[in-house]
Symmetry: C2
Subunit: 145 residues, 2 copies
DNA sequence: ATCTTGTCTTAGACTTAGTCTAAGCTAGGA
DNA sequence: TCCTAGCTTAGACTAAGTCTAAGACAAGAT
């Protein structure tokens, strides 16, 4: 896992103090934060940091291909620094808990030519849904009562 | 393709004039409309129809499992009446064009047990991305110029 | 036929997520 | 040092969707 700041430096892109704090906030954790959560945490280290800079910076990192933008529900977007490792996501329909997962095959291979409508298909992402252990036991108890 | 109104009637759910117009607007087409687009079109047939009713009704149809809610980008949700046919989506990164596609494998089968984090995984959807024929030729011409 | 009750619909206020703008601030090059 | 391009900021603005309170409607009871 080469760290995000290192990866960002490879592009000709100024690493300002604000951008560094945002990148480190995103990198340090391994969850999938919203822009607001990143702002909240980054502001602890740099209180004058603005919301606009967080949004601008995240959009730029996505455009550079170093951060993934996930829109798994209709709520806020989530940002994933793990862009250099192909992976998919498993989401709990009860509580929203999100896990990284790795499938055993590439879904692009499962799309026959006559289903491609003339597109050049470059990538595919899978969203798995289900119930996490806690939500499952909670549901079972609820049904019992 | 059993029609949406028929499927909705199977649930004990009142089919009011408003709900019928919304369902028929959604069903008639085969694209993936936003709530605003549905409102726009439905209002042509029932001018007094309100935005709140469109949103309420779409949410109810989703809860009944008869309509799919798609959140493929961070913009508005899209509503898909084709909930009784398992399928996935192919999206053009240039223009947003969206096509229904059918994969040759079920992604759930390709998620090993040790990647399930104790979840009960019930379903999976694949989002394919690429460029549609028009956007591809547009991109090629742009590169040439 | 009228009443009752719960459900449905409505306009518009409100919230949330995100973008835009205009001004000031830096940092690096001439 | 001065210039300039790019970066950051506060706050206004927009878009998508939810909530609320009131009225309309519909089905069953009398
Ligand atoms: Mn991830
Ligand atoms: Mn579809
Ligand atoms: Zn859960
Ligand atoms: Zn296209």
């Amino acid at each position: 896992m080469s760290d995000l700041v290192t990866r960002l430096r490879r592009h000709n892109w100024r690493i300002t103090p604000q951008r560094r704090v945002i990148a480190e906030t995103l990198e340090g954790s391994h969850v999938h934060f919203t822009a607001e959560q990143i702002l909240e945490r980054a502001v602890e280290r740099m209180p004058e940091l603005s919301r606009a800079t967080v949004y601008n910076t995240l959009n730029e990192m996505v455009a550079l291909g170093e951060v993934l933008e996930l829109t798994l529900d209709g709520r806020s977007k989530r940002y994933d620094p793990n862009a250099d490792h192909e992976h998919h996501h498993l989401i709990c329909e009860g509580c929203g808990l999100m896990k990284d997962v790795h499938a055993m095959a590439d879904p692009v291979d499962w799309l026959p030519g006559d289903e491609r409508h003339g597109f050049s298909v470059t990538r595919a992402s899978i969203t798995y849904r289900g119930l996490c252990p806690e939500c499952r036991t909670a549901a079972a108890e609820g049904a019992q009562a």
